[in-house]
Amino acid sequence: MRKLTYAAAICEAQCEEMARDDRVFVVGEDVDISGGVYKLTCGIREKFGEKRLIGTPISEEAFCGLAVGAAMAGLRPIVEIMYIDFILMAMDPVVNQMAKVQFMSGGQFRMPVVIRAQAGAGTAEAAQHSQSFEAWFSHTPGFKVCMPATVYDAKGLLKSAIRDDNPVLVIENRVLFFDEEEVPEGEWTVPLGKADVAREGKDITLVATGIMRRKALAAAKALERQVSVEVIDPRTIVPLDIETILGSVGKTGRLLVVHESPTRNGIGAEIVRRVVAEGFDYLNGPPKVLAGADTPIPFSSTLEKAALPQEETITRAVKEMVGA
């Protein structure tokens, strides 16, 4: 075992996959300068040169379109979006083109593009640098969407995404970038579409995505003398590992979904829909969603904290649901 940060895991995954397949390249803003603004492309220039690590002008629509065309011509682009908020400048190539070409062309073309975008709030960067868009892209047929929340998953999911022939949006979280974990030596992959049971329990199932995994685990630990909480991190939002979630709810009879993105029409609503439709008889009470406020993310720290689920609010919601 060795210690690795979440950011270093992202670099390591890209370097390993670029060594494995010379069609893989990285493109994005500032990626070629000193490993990028968030140091997520360190070591690539030294190993593979500027031919395969391409810094771009600030032109998201053009370089996301470039990724679509390059993939249609047989390459395997990794696009870095510095903040997921900026992907809105590229919604045409991403949503109208990338997500649909395989289908629209009758399967003639494959679309092996990875979009790596860091998302989320918690760093006082306000409404245009803090958004979470997993629900938007999950709602667009043609994408796979994953949200690694551990160092192990940051590397393993990204490697699977790069090997996948479909467009995969890998949503990274900058609050986690300097988290350090013990991980194995060498290579590993984490399959897309497989949830992780982060903590076993028997009284209630917490499904927590992205950084909410960490908060849910903290809440579970704080409650451990009163309530036995099972924490499931879906890891991949599309395709969703509903079997693991249903298996857990079958055991606990209670479901609370926790995510950072806004509550309304969010992925929590979708997970609850699936559980109600496919596991209604398992439920001992109404399933619930605890998620971000339906507001833009505010700047001031008191407001930003209030806009997001916190360990205390998760703890309170669990207690209410189990009657503890």
Binding site: G65, G69, Q108
Partner: protein, 335 residues
Amino acid sequence: MSAKDVKHSVAGAAPEVSKEQKLHMLRQMISIRRFEEEVKRLYCAGVITGAIHLYVGQEAVAVGACACLRDDDYATSGHRPHGHCLAKVFDLKRTMAEMLGRETGLSRGRGGSMHQFDKAKGFLGGNGIVGGGVGIALGAAFASKYRGTDQVTVCFFSDGASNQGVVHEAMNIAALWKLPVIWLCENNQIAATTTVAKSTCTPDIAPRAEAYCIPWAICDGNDVLEVYRTVGEAVARARRGEGSTFIECKTYRLEPHCGIIADERPKEELALWRSPKKDCIKRFEAVLVREKVCTPEETETMHQQVEQDLADAVEFARKSPFPAPETLYDNVWSK
């Protein structure tokens, strides 16, 4: 290269065009014209559904440009792609089958009028989004340079698309990285129902390329040999690794938007562009007869052959099956 060094014309020594090439170009132009007229007839009869954007009048641009390309070169198009698709792929049957939504269509009936693709012939699609092909063309050209091949990409777009922001972004990147892409702006003088005079602050679009140090040219888009020579020069530059070129082809869309939506162009203007003086097919036929490449009787024979090809294509399409409903989810993802 500074802006001062940019040449306002890319025309150089005209590549020789053989008699066979000229006749093939004429046949393609007539095929596209008659294909489009047949599409309109089938659309009005309810056999073709959805939306159709007809290329009637502009055939010289697609045919002249694609005559410069190899099968392994790439082309992207927009929402009016039938002409580009036929010029690059030249498969009347599978293109017509796609128009009718059949399983044998180029895109297995999943795409329709605006989303014909052919991987084998490097046709990277029509596009329902005006300007949607621009970034894709940039990427195809990037891939050629990345792999070190001499393939080129022609990006067909329109006066309408020229006002989308992505054109600016992509031209900057293409010039910065010297990518082998030909920006082929087909100025048919109208976008949907809005004329260039109402949408665009200058009468010519190509001079914008000068701001990116991209060589540019304006050519008569209704003269297929002029299009061929101009695009040929740009293709040669791109193959030599000298980067991007911008070509504006002045032409005219003879049909209304979607074949049926009224616009406010004067009737006399339409009549002029349909006349032997302006119509690209009539003009090319006159040139070929004058140069004794063929006789009027031979062009008439060619028209009859195209009628037969088209009848075969329509029959092929009509007899082809619709996609089975249980295949709905095919290729949402690759397995």
